[in-house]
Structures are given as structure tokens and as C-alpha cells.
């Protein structure tokens, strides 16, 4: 009977779902994730919800309930810290409002696995199918993307998209430090500056049907100004200094049962050999 030796083990993937008062959407989303991606672990981060968001998770879902609301940055960092402690190879962020389609996760993971990208962003604006967005929001996203390019950042079509997949290097970096408020555009610039590679794939997204957006339209202008100032300050910031990232990994990670690590592809590593006997 043929058996494969030296074959790479499948990557351990964790889907992080941050949610705050999303009881109407999150249960359905988690059911869809389990249906589309049965091999992936799902982690629901209940960011201090005042409703029963945490109870919407199914029995197979891991739930971290934060004692109070930390905001999207704090909630996401909780997920990355969890992924780091438990030795996951890939962490995928899927928003709890149901806008991100679980069926599109495979595209992000494929891009992450087949290229040397460290972070892959699912972009609404690269897809053939147009995503309906208000003029104000489109303008804000365009301003931030342009500013990122001016600050010698990467060219991204959708720098505010929260639909992302990160490999182990980025998981460790985010576990070490992650912005508090409106983190998406900031990490694009900071990761690029720190030498991480960022890729983008076109994805389809749903329009939000329930819950409240983390950035209401009335605060949109304030959001753009605040993020723009943060981006300028980020040019002199080094949140992931060499040699420090990952040092904080504590005893929890030592209990990881699987010592074999899936390695993301690297240009300088020889291709994996498969020996058949």
C-alpha cells in the first residue's frame, strides 16, 4: 500500500470571529462556517456583548468571552494571541456581522499557501461583481489607500477590509502588538514596513443586514482623519522589533500536542519531496 513520507502535514487553521452584540447574525455565520469548512477550528470572540451573542455558538465552536468591550483591535488581538498560544499555522479573520462569506476563505488560504505572502486580504473591489458602497465610504477608502502608497506602503485596493488570512509569522507579530482602534489600514503599512509580504485576492461580500457597524457614517470623517494621523505616525514606529516578537509566548503554547509544524512556503526553501514506497 503506497504511503507518503515527508509529506507536509495540513496547516492548522483557526477562523477568528469577533462579535459585539451580533446575536442575529453570528449564529447563522458560524453554522455556515462549519458547513463550508468542517476541518477548520472556529473561535468566537464575544467582545463584552450585552446580548446573548456568545450563546449563539454551536457546541464545536470555541468561545472567548471578554469581560468588557475592548473594541475591534483588542478583540482581534485576543484571537491572534489564542492562535499563537495554541500553535495555529493560519488565522483567518471573519467579521461576526455576516458580511464575509465562509465559502471565500479557501481563496485566502490558497493564496497564503501557494505564494510567499504573510498576510492575504480579501478585497471587495477587485471582484467582477460590484460591491455597493456609499460615496463617502468609497472616498474614505480611496484617501487611505492613496496615503498608504504615499508613505511607501503597498498598493492595496481594499485596505479597510477585515477579511484576512495570516500565517504564523504574522500571528506572532499581531500577538505581540496590534493597534487598538480601526486597525486594518495601519497594519497594512506597518507590516509592509517591517518586511512582511501582503497579498490581495478578489472576494465577494454580503451587504450588512443586521447589527451596527463599528464605523457609523457620521463618524466617517473623524475616522479618516484619525487613521491618517496614525498612518503618518506609523512611519517612525517599529511595533515588531527584530528578536522581540514571539518572546512573550507563555507556558500555554508548550502544551501544544502537535510538534510538527506546517511551514509557509518560502523562496529559499527547497520544494517538499514526496517519496512513495
Amino acid at each position: 500500500m503506497p504511503s507518503d513520507i515527508n509529506r507536509q502535514p495540513a496547516p492548522r487553521c483557526l477562523i477568528i470571529v469577533p462579535a459585539y452584540n451580533e446575536r442575529t447574525a453570528v449564529g447563522k455565520l458560524i453554522r455556515r462556517i462549519h458547513k463550508h469548512l468542517p476541518d477548520y477550528d472556529v473561535l468566537l470572540i464575544d467582545d463584552g456583548s450585552t446580548d446573548d451573542t456568545a450563546k449563539q455558538a454551536s457546541a464545536h465552536t470555541k468561545v472567548v468571552s471578554l469581560p468588557f468591550n475592548l473594541g475591534i483591535g483588542g478583540a482581534m488581538q485576543t484571537g491572534y494571541r489564542y492562535a499563537d498560544f495554541h500553535g495555529y499555522d493560519i488565522a483567518i479573520q471573519v467579521d461576526g456581522d455576516g458580511q464575509h462569506r465562509p465559502g471565500e476563505v479557501a481563496r485566502l488560504v490558497e493564496k497564503l499557501s501557494t505564494t510567499d505572502c504573510d498576510l492575504v486580504i480579501g478585497s471587495r473591489f477587485m471582484s467582477d461583481i460590484k460591491y455597493r458602497q456609499s460615496f463617502a465610504r468609497m472616498t474614505g477608502i480611496h484617501i487611505l489607500s492613496t496615503l498608504i502608497r504615499w508613505l511607501r506602503g503597498p498598493h492595496t485596493a481594499d485596505c479597510t477590509s477585515g477579511f484576512r488570512a495570516a500565517n504564523r509569522r504574522v500571528i506572532r507579530a499581531f500577538a505581540h502588538w496590534y493597534p487598538d482602534d480601526y486597525p486594518e489600514p495601519e497594519v497594512v503599512l506597518l507590516l509592509h514596513k517591517a518586511g512582511y509580504k501582503i497579498g490581495e485576492v478578489p472576494v465577494r461580500m454580503r451587504q450588512r443586514r443586521s447589527g451596527n457597524t463599528s464605523i457609523p457614517l457620521t463618524r466617517g470623517l473623524f475616522y479618516v482623519i484619525k487613521v491618517a494621523v496614525c498612518l503618518v505616525l506609523d512611519t517612525v514606529r517599529d511595533p515588531w522589533p527584530q528578536g522581540k516578537v514571539g518572546d512573550h509566548a507563555n507556558a500555554l503554547s508548550q502544551s501544544d500536542p502537535d510538534p510538527v509544524r506546517w511551514q509557509p512556503p518560502a523562496a529559499d526553501r527547497p520544494p517538499t519531496q514526496t517519496i512513495q514506497t
Partner: protein, 67 residues
């Protein structure tokens, strides 16, 4: 202070006010820095509480299954 005021041709009172304003500004920045650090610590603590509670719950479930 008097010598400095004469050297830069600024009234003694004005210079004193500038020094006090500068000192207060530094105090505000220092306090903001302390608040930011404490905020980071509280965030990390809350995250660890959440993660450890999940771990404890998982351990309890495993124990119950074994029993």
C-alpha cells in the same frame, strides 16, 4: 531665569509663564503616557482572562467526558 530673560529679550513674567506652560505640557504628556500603558495592561489582562476561561471550560468538559 533673569539672565535668560535679558539674553532673549523677553519679559521675566512672560518667560516664567512659558516655563510653567511647558512644564504643564510635559506633565500632560507624561500622564497620557501612563494612561496609555495602563490601558495596554488592562487590555492584556482582559484578553488573558478570556483565553484562560476558555481553556478552563475546555478542561472541565474533557474531565466530564472522561468521568
Amino acid at each position: 531665569m533673569g539672565i535668560l530673560a535679558r539674553t532673549v529679550h523677553i519679559e521675566y513674567g512672560t518667560l516664567s509663564l512659558l516655563f510653567v506652560a511647558g512644564f504643564l505640557m510635559l506633565m500632560v504628556l507624561e500622564l497620557l503616557s501612563i494612561v496609555s500603558q495602563q490601558d495596554r495592561k488592562i487590555t492584556t489582562l482582559a484578553q488573558m482572562v478570556g483565553i484562560l476561561m476558555e481553556k478552563q471550560e475546555f478542561a472541565n468538559q474533557t474531565k466530564e467526558t472522561k468521568e
